[in-house]
């Protein structure tokens, strides 16, 4: 079953085309690596999928619901981590997660358990009672991920979830995302290519708003390597050089 279906998705900002007729889909339980140079349109695509931005043309469906026609149905089924983790600096981590969990519809008697669950998944248990503005960048990022995981949404949209983390934390988040495969459908954007090789099977590479590759990593390696060992990085550079 396709959990994310995007057809001819186009977004224009006045005179600039941010994304141009994107068509792709993600099957249930898959983790899709979403790649592209800065300004390629990754964040725009993710904002549209999350229901924050309207598209200029085309359709996007999440779990079978159109993001623009049935936004509430879509919002109930996604966990979204924007590029900048959306945190209230004045709240404690627990207070913040409690707010998000409540707004996601987690029942009162499940709140505590659900918050503890995502805290232990993201390694934020030890900072639960600290005020967010006093946290390091790495912890803030992880609280952002924790927020997206609340209420186990079937679809996760993660815009650079490992940004600002040190190598150890990065490996942890990577392992966490890998462990989500199967249960959740994940679309994950990142700059760090080896990370994609380690977490995703399939990649979508966009450049100047257009899809330049959408395939499994091993197929891409075959197509571009011509029999030789070729890294995703080399493929990426080749495809986005123009």
């Amino acid at each position: 079953m396709q959990m994310i279906e995007v057809q001819n998705l186009t977004k224009r900002y006045r005179d600039r085309v941010a994304i141009d007729h994107l068509t792709f889909s993600v099957n249930q339980g898959e983790i899709l690596g979403f790649l592209g140079p800065n300004g390629a349109g990754k964040t725009t695509t993710m904002k549209i999928l999350a229901g924050y931005l309207p598209a200029s043309k085309g359709t996007a469906k999440v779990a079978g619901f159109d993001v623009f026609e049935q936004p509430m149905e879509v919002k109930r089924r996604i966990g979204y981590l924007p590029e900048v983790p959306p945190l209230y600096p004045e709240l404690t981590v627990r207070g913040y997660l409690r707010l998000v969990a409540t707004l996601k519809g987690v029942e009162r008697d499940r709140l505590g358990g659900e918050i503890d669950r995502v805290a232990s998944l993201t390694g934020t248990s030890q900072v639960m009672d600290r005020v967010i503005q006093n946290l390091s960048k790495g912890f803030r990022q992880r609280v952002g991920v924790a927020q997206a995981l609340l209420n186990s949404p079937p679809v996760l949209i993660l815009d650079e979830p490992t940004e600002g983390l040190d190598p150890t934390q990065r490996a942890e988040v990577r392992a966490l995302i890998r462990s989500l495969a199967g249960k959740h459908t994940v679309i994950l954007s990142t700059h760090i290519l080896p990370e994609v090789t380690m977490t995703c099977e399939k990649v979508l590479i966009i450049h100047q708003g257009k899809i330049v590759a959408f395939d499994e990593i091993k197929n891409l390696a075959q197509a571009y390597g011509a029999g030789e060992q070729v890294s995703l990085e080399e493929i990426f550079i080749k495809l986005t050089a123009a």
């Binding site: 904002k47 924007p82 959306p86 004045e90 207070g95 707010l99 409540t102 707004l103």
Partner: protein
């Protein structure tokens, strides 16, 4: 409803971590206590004059000083009204502008929360903080009622005091509704506060403009002026027309805010 309350609770708890809120509280208390003491002194002076010359021989405008309710509390309420006009924009400014600047607006818009719930939750939080600010001023009539004495027994006529206070709350709620709407239009809190003030102040002073106008324009301007609508209430007269007026202004700006939040989805 649960979403509205959760958002209101968040707004209130954030307010109490902000220096702004405490600056507003302090301003409210300082300015009102200054005027409170001043009007107590004038009250005392007029009372002494009346004792020496009898009320009949004093100018008619001194009649308000016959009792503490009209002589002190009603005067105080008109000062609090002005202070509210100055401080409410600084309380309302963060409601949406801050969310936009710190990018949490994106979170709110991608959670299963309807725009109307977001707006009502925020407005409820805003009402909470303005009620807390105005609540501090109830100390003054309370002090009079504890320490004051009059020939008729109780120093204050509490029905007048509370009705006036209700008028103040309504006024505060109106300022917050206007401020919330302006805040939903910008990312800059300072700009939101200044614009709110720029709307509220002329609206408050509309009556002065109306004085020179011809009928029926004059009555219309008078009806639309905050000042004229508040006058009766601060004197303790329950006026249904004013109640409807303020409720309509609040409703109008809450709906405008909801529209403005909804519109961001189309941007």
């Amino acid at each position: 409803m649960r979403n509205i309350l959760a958002i209101a609770r968040k707004e209130l708890s954030i307010y109490f971590t902000k220096p702004w809120a405490y600056i507003v509280f302090a301003t409210m208390v300082l300015v009102s206590s200054f005027f409170f003491v001043a009007s107590l002194q004038s009250f005392k002076q007029v009372q002494e004059l009346a004792r020496a010359f009898t009320w009949a021989r004093l100018p008619p405008e001194y009649a308000a000083f016959k009792n503490l309710t009209d002589g002190v509390v009603v005067q105080l309420w008109s000062v609090v009204r002005i202070v509210t006009l100055f401080v409410a924009p600084f309380l309302a400014m963060r409601l949406f502008a801050e969310e936009k600047r710190q990018k949490t607006f994106e979170l709110m818009m991608t959670l299963p929360v309807r725009p109307v719930e977001l707006v009502l939750g925020k407005y409820l939080g805003g009402l909470g903080i303005i009620t807390a600010t105005l609540g501090l001023t109830i100390l003054f009539p309370a002090a009079i009622s504890i320490f004051g004495r009059s020939e008729s027994g109780s120093a204050l006529e509490w029905s007048t005091v509370l009705l006036g206070y209700g008028g103040l709350l309504l006024w505060g709620a109106t300022c917050m509704a206007v401020g919330m709407f302006i805040s939903s239009l910008t990312e800059s809190q300072m700009l939101a506060a200044l614009l709110t003030f720029a709307i509220l102040l002329p609206w408050m002073l509309l009556r002065g403009v109306g004085q020179g106008a011809e009928e029926p324009l004059r009555s219309i301007i008078n009806y639309l002026s905050f000042d004229a609508q508040l006058e009766d209430m601060t004197k303790g007269v329950l006026n249904l027309k004013s109640l409807v007026f303020f409720a309509s202004v609040i409703f109008f700006f809450v709906v405008l805010t909801q529209r403005s939040v909804e519109a961001q989805r189309w941007a």
